[in-house]
Symmetry: C2
Subunit: 437 residues, 2 copies
Amino acid sequence: MTEYRRLRVALLGAGAVGSQVAALLRKHGDELADRAGAALDLVGIAVRDLDAPRDTDLPRELLTTDPEPLIVGADIVIELMGGIEPARTHILAAINSGADVVTANKALLATHGPEIFEAADQVGASVYYEAAAAGAIPIIRPLRDSLAGDRVQRIMGIVNGTTNYILDRMDREGSEFSDVLADAQALGYAEADPTADVEGYDAAQKAAILASLAFHTAVPLDGVHREGITSVDKQMMDAARHAGYVIKLLAVCERLTGADGESISVRVYPALIPREHPLASVHGANNAVFVQAEAAGDLMFYGAGAGGVQTASAVLGDIVSAARRHIAGGVGVGESTRANLPVVPIGRVTTRYQITLEVDDEPGVLATVAGILSEGRVSIATVEQTVIRESNGEPGVARIVIGTHKAVEQDLSETVDRLAASGVVERVVSVLRVEGN
Amino acid sequence: MTEYRRLRVALLGAGAVGSQVAALLRKHGDELADRAGAALDLVGIAVRDLDAPRDTDLPRELLTTDPEPLIVGADIVIELMGGIEPARTHILAAINSGADVVTANKALLATHGPEIFEAADQVGASVYYEAAAAGAIPIIRPLRDSLAGDRVQRIMGIVNGTTNYILDRMDREGSEFSDVLADAQALGYAEADPTADVEGYDAAQKAAILASLAFHTAVPLDGVHREGITSVDKQMMDAARHAGYVIKLLAVCERLTGADGESISVRVYPALIPREHPLASVHGANNAVFVQAEAAGDLMFYGAGAGGVQTASAVLGDIVSAARRHIAGGVGVGESTRANLPVVPIGRVTTRYQITLEVDDEPGVLATVAGILSEGRVSIATVEQTVIRESNGEPGVARIVIGTHKAVEQDLSETVDRLAASGVVERVVSVLRVEGN
Ligand SMILES: NC(=O)c1ccc[n+]([C@@H]2O[C@H](COP(=O)([O-])OP(=O)(O)OC[C@H]3O[C@@H](n4cnc5c(N)ncnc54)[C@H](OP(=O)(O)O)[C@@H]3O)[C@@H](O)[C@H]2O)c1
Ligand SMILES: NC(=O)c1ccc[n+]([C@@H]2O[C@H](COP(=O)([O-])OP(=O)(O)OC[C@H]3O[C@@H](n4cnc5c(N)ncnc54)[C@H](OP(=O)(O)O)[C@@H]3O)[C@@H](O)[C@H]2O)c1
């Protein structure tokens, strides 16, 4: 047995992720020491309630409700409490007392990332967060290191397992959102309060983290346009399937090139993607991040985006990296934000759209609709019109599904407003962006 | 503009990959400097022929046929010549003169990796090789760093673009191997001498590199069992499709647990994988690496496994990493081979098999076949028998397709020999391993 230098590791939180991290640290201690070149001594675990049941067996004497003494003197502090406070205060204290930090806290990084990275920079500490963007999927190192010599053009991520599970079941079973949500809650795929997932808040936090890394720009959370999946219904799913698409909640991070230089757009919304796109075959609660880079071309990273033990894998990789660096010194993993590109509002983004309308089934209606689109600078790529109620006495009703060429979001939404007010449109059934080709 | 420390970068080779690396270094110099924290000065490019045509525009004055002077005094040496010598000598010289090394040379690493990593270790230099295992796909850092706290159980990789292109077209078009190969050569997807690709040598080199990293064990190239795709024909493809499989050339790296401890198996062969497996949808010349880890579960990394500019992306990522480390010092990227697991021969490996036989269509034949299998410790999971020639005077012929449960390769191959010699079997049509479930 090699005699290694010993590092003091403090763990804050022993919930879904933290309890697995503690168990793996203890189970594979010798192997981890060989890989890190240092023995990792778990010196204590901070929790709220000493008597709460835990997912794994943890020695009672390691638990404490008082994090401060653990942090003082630790070489590596692992924050797995979640939420903004007290996580932020503990992380800043750890950095300032000379520790390296490992965290999976996307909510904190998406809102206070710059403050934390700045504090780490000041003292030469490192902050590792492989688990914060896509759970177990290695995406932070590929973006930060492997693609450091390339230029990322676009990221499209399925980064929320709950919503992918719901949309995938709606697609496969033809079920309604509310039924699948209830079932997902019963099965533990969705929380009792599903807001963070189904309204896209969780995905927006991850999008901010991914875009910051990919574009070397600090992206504030309020620069991320966010729409959830609660408006996606069976009818939209069926129509998407019919047209060769599937609906996924996508986090899109895009580099834009205009006359006045480069800018970026970061947005989360349900979008149509073609069935043959690699992202279309991401099923269940799985996640995937599709990256397009100037030189590398198309890359995809696939795996479990959540789950206690899966996420613990990414946290442990970070602990080994922190340990290697802590003993050998050298390059911290600070954030490069030198590109500092402007983040454009959603109104200036261009994508393709699919607009579904119910209209009076009368002569001239399609011409009116087409005229409004053309006035609004929205160019039509495909149109499909189907009679859904024959006229019998009352006027009939037809459905028009319009696929557009790329259009500016602002133009598109004004045009849809004008369609709705045109008199010939009974109902705007849905407006969906089309991504992925 | 920040004033950066300047690093001297020497490039050896300006072929498919090297010419793109040189072009990107020059095109994105400022951006790369921001990311690396150092200015990268390309001080020279070694080639064989000063007058050879190049894929990109390179200043004539940078070219030289004399690598030695470039290497002396370089901070980073990029080896993109390929082959064993003089690449090996130049890399060792670079290491010993204090440079960090970036290479994409799988042939060299798979044969002389330990010598090179040992030399780098001695002087505290780093050797980066993200491009050597799967071209543009970031797989080295994920295995070495992101999964450093986890235990890889299994890797299944499609790591050769040429063979995937050929097999994919055979599958989609129902064409014969030789026709698709000829076409692939005409289109530039296969070399004039396709041996390295179609016989699995290239994939075996990559398998040795991936297994070494994943299992922290130096895997010699002759520890890799290798079979190519030249025996795969239209009939096997059709039968695979009929049974819900597709045939892919897989590099399988597996951790085995036995009574006498752990060992590993590394092998390259064409195998059946179920259509619904994520690897089945890797089309054309694309590559993908599917990783199963104890905690992380299933992960997949997908992208371009070759191509000059795509591979250059991975090389540039390594250059930025080398530059960061060169100025900040710290953790080298040595190889951890501390686990040092034994590599078992193919005979001791267990997989499932699909055996296709042509037999006399007579009563009792299936019983004889089943008896031989059972004596040979090969247990049958599924059998399908089809008459392919009715008996009319002469005895008829039937095809039997047997799916086995997991069996030991040694048992299986002895059993197949006994089947062939049994008198009732006219012909062993094919024996294929089944991977992926
Ligand atoms: N779960 C996942 O699949 C997943 C995936 C990716 C990222 N993450 C991130 O990982 C982090 C942890 O998630 P989780 O699911 O493990 O959370 P969790 O199950 O809610 O666990 C939180 C843990 O922190 C402790 N804690 C909370 N506030 C505390 C305080 N003020 N003082 C001391 N201890 C406190 C809790 O103690 P008690 O047990 O005593 O209440 C609990 O052990 C979050 O940032 C989350 O976003 C989670
Ligand atoms: N091509 C890919 O898609 C790919 C993908 C992954 C990894 N790789 C690896 O990357 C490396 C380079 O591949 P490549 O496709 O770029 O090779 P290549 O096109 O054959 O280029 C080799 C270059 O090295 C130069 N060279 C060869 N021997 C030399 C010597 N003795 N002295 C000076 N210069 C010498 C050649 O000079 P001249 O031009 O004057 O002949 C040429 O510029 C190989 O290790 C390969 O396995 C390639």
